[in-house]
């Protein structure tokens, strides 16, 4: 497969680009990578204090801190990776004009360097689970599946966004609005029961939302210790395939014109 051979040929470049992102991100902060662990921990503390109070009337959520952190870790990875990858082509303009490099390496390496952050924030999750004495079952090992899904989905979305952002730069400002709306349509903070009285179309959107499927699977295996219903996996794989197909198609069509527009 040609894609695979490109990956092998440029593996050195890929690791260099990822290492560059991580080095430049943490070079100037004393706590360095520790921030990646601390940030979700602190956010989780604030949110769980506030929202466990608000949501208490919907019945007690089992271990709200872990419930919240599961959603947060997954959604934040999607948000961060796609937002950063979106500008990757535009910001590599100088390079693309002068050296030939397969252009999709730029968004993909951004997603990869964000997944290093994702792994670090997993440490935060382990800490919270230990502190709250959450029940750990062997199904935890299945957590790699939803993580893999969200990685693939983010890659597809990143390819699409990075290609479109070359022609429409202001999309970068618009995107933070979109992800905020997206977050509220994903059960990151709130329990699913809150939707019982919501209009049908809202329920439909939330249930079709690919992020909902990823987070539900993740919570099933990590928090509840059961395997997720097969329908959620079908839904996840479907959305990953759609995102990757549209993303790579749009990217491939647009890539030869990048140099004329940046």
């Amino acid at each position: 497969m040609s894609l695979l051979s490109v990956f092998v040929k440029y593996r050195n470049l890929i690791s260099q680009l990822v290492a560059r992102d991580i080095k430049t991100k943490y070079r100037r902060s004393i706590l360095g990578l520790l921030w990646t662990v601390l940030n979700p921990l602190l956010m989780m503390t604030v949110l769980s204090i506030v929202f466990s109070y608000f949501f208490s009337r919907y019945g007690n959520i089992d271990n709200f801190p872990v419930y919240l952190l599961c959603g947060q870790v997954i959604f934040n990875f999607f948000n961060e990776s796609t937002s950063i990858a979106m500008g990757s082509i535009v910001h590599s303009g100088e390079l693309i004009k002068k050296v030939y490099v397969p252009k999709y390496l730029f968004p993909i390496t951004k997603v990869m360097s964000c997944s290093v952050n994702l792994l670090a924030s997993m440490i935060a999750l382990v800490i919270v689970m230990a502190v709250t004495r959450a029940r750990v079952t062997p199904t935890v090992l299945l957590a790699v599946l939803p993580l893999f899904y969200v990685l693939m989905f983010s890659t597809g979305v990143s390819l699409f966004l990075s290609a479109v952002a070359v022609s429409f730069r202001d999309l970068m400002h618009l995107y933070s609005v979109i992800t905020t709306a997206w977050m509220y349509l994903t059960p990151v903070i709130y329990p699913m029961e809150i939707l019982d009285k919501a209009p049908e179309w809202v329920k439909l959107i939330v249930n079709l939302n690919p992020m909902t499927a990823f987070i539900k699977i993740f919570r099933c295996v990590v928090l509840e210790g059961v395997t997720a219903p097969a329908i959620l996996h079908v839904q996840s794989i479907f959305w990953c395939a759609v995102a990757l197909a549209i993303g790579s198609l749009v990217f491939r069509k647009a890539q030869d014109n990048f140099i004329l527009k940046i």
Partner: protein, 249 residues
Amino acid sequence: MKIENAIEVNDVSMCFNLSREKVDSIKEYIIKAIKHQLFYEEFWALNDVSFEVRKGDSVGLVGMNGSGKSTMLKIIAGVLKPTKGSVETAGTIAPMIELGAGFDHDLTARENIFLNGALIGYPREMLEDRFNNIISFAGLERFVDVPIKNFSSGMLARLGFSIATIVDADILIIDEILSVGDYQFQNKCKKRIREMMDRNTTVLFVSHSIEQVKEICKKAIWIDQGHIRMMGEAEEVCDAYEDPNEKVK
């Protein structure tokens, strides 16, 4: 592709869209579309250019500003895709279209050597082996672990040249880079280019300095407004290019 050729350029044309103002946001696009202002103006930077370069040859491209020389080099380097026609190359290409493209200014010289080397496509082990050679050729022994945002432009150019030429590529593409650096470093560069040519590297060279073209190249191609005006021995082509009577015509 013929076995004795390093580069074959077949009827290459390149068209740019010269919209008077670049539209690159949704807002502008909608406004312009409503006002019917989405004009596209074509500009052909190259028209049906064909030539062949033999392996081991050194060819200079000469021409006025805007004649299409750099566009030609970028197409050969694979950075630009031609609108029409095709380019075939044999072997590895070391493009020196602008030295230090891809340097990250927050990283140190050491880290940039690995990043830049990876961009050109060199394996990591090779870069580790020749790390000291790269540094000593660039004369930056004292600055290995300094972030390159503190480097002067001359130091950056030296580092870039040193990385790009650390191995013999089959094809070396040089665009106006010998104008940077001091006299001493320029001579060092020329010496290294000549050594590579002795080892059968094909060289494509663009410079506004006719003396440098005559000095380095055996053959030359004169590009004028996107067409090949003249092709042949470097001396002949350069003399014709410099001939004031020729320009008046």
